[in-house]
């Protein structure tokens, strides 16, 4: 792994792992898939490709936050507001 990007990748992994704790299908399920997704690309050395993958990871972070928000919003709406 290119050295300066090593920190980026680790940071991304930690952030995703933290977010995964709330995953609807369970934190263990999430962690397995997260680890295999990262392991699949572990031999990547091209900094451009690594940056693109990290950007994809950031996108996944946003998707997860949106998922969690919508899930919570819909649950509250269903519980407290007459349809």
């Amino acid at each position: 792994m290119a050295n300066p990007l090593r920190g980026e990748v680790f940071r991304l992994y930690k952030n995703l792992l933290y977010l995964g704790r709330e995953y609807p299908k369970g934190a263990a399920y999430f962690r397995e898939r997260l680890k295999s997704a990262f392991m699949k690309n572990k031999d990547e050395t091209d900094p451009e490709k690594i940056r693109a993958l990290v950007a994809k990871g950031d996108f996944v972070i946003h998707e997860l936050q949106a998922l969690y928000y919508l899930r919570k919003y819909r649950a509250m709406k269903k519980r407290y507001y007459e349809e």
Binding site: R11, K14, N15, Y18, L19, P24, I61, Q65, Y68, Y69, R71, K72, Y73, A75, M76, K77, R79, Y80, Y81
Partner: protein
Amino acid sequence: MSGRVLVGVKRVIDYAVKIRVKPDHSGVVTDGVKHSMNPFCEIAVEEAVKLKEKKLMKEVVVVSCGPQQSQETIRTALAMGADRGIHVEVSGKDYETLGPLQVSKILAALAKKEDAQLIILGKQAIDDDCNQTGQMTAALLDWPQGTFASEVSLEKDGIKVVREIDGGLETIKISTPAVLTADLRLNTPRYATLPNIMKAKKKKIANVKPADLGVDLTSRLEVLRVDEPPQRQAGMKVETVDDLVSKLKDAGKV
């Protein structure tokens, strides 16, 4: 307008957890169960932080009443952008009987002590569904209240609040200082990501005891029994519309 916002947050059982009633029907199982910030409190924190970001308020102070674990909830609020926290330590029997009356007395005392211009709370907690703390706090302080707020705008001569009520929306203007309670559509709370949580570790959380604020925690309520809601009856499948009509007639619905 510049001033201090006091936001109250409550640590409740996570909304997605399946609640189980204790075998002795004295309450709900809380040991080892996932807890998080009350969803309406998240919306309250977000609103306060937004006001600070718009430079309409100077400081956001977040308060939570409860045992040691309430500090986690305060940390989440700090990660969302609050400036400092106050943990009012209540544990054991006192915590079991802690309700809106006691919390509103605590908040009123803190509002005076911290010289707050605005108090924002969630409209209700998802565990007890009281929907009383905001209203009681306003009454104790003799401040106006904007409850079920789905839109808040600070203006020169007061606060304009659009409230979600049964008939639709009601727009009122109240003077400051005031108490607001947040409804679902007020805003979209930001997520407290790991980097924000790390940064928030530097922010201070003060520890206060209810006695220091001169608040008496005795409860005037006694929980007699807690039961699960009745089980849903199994549905029945019918073959034809005539079958359906005859079944409905039998049940006396038609």
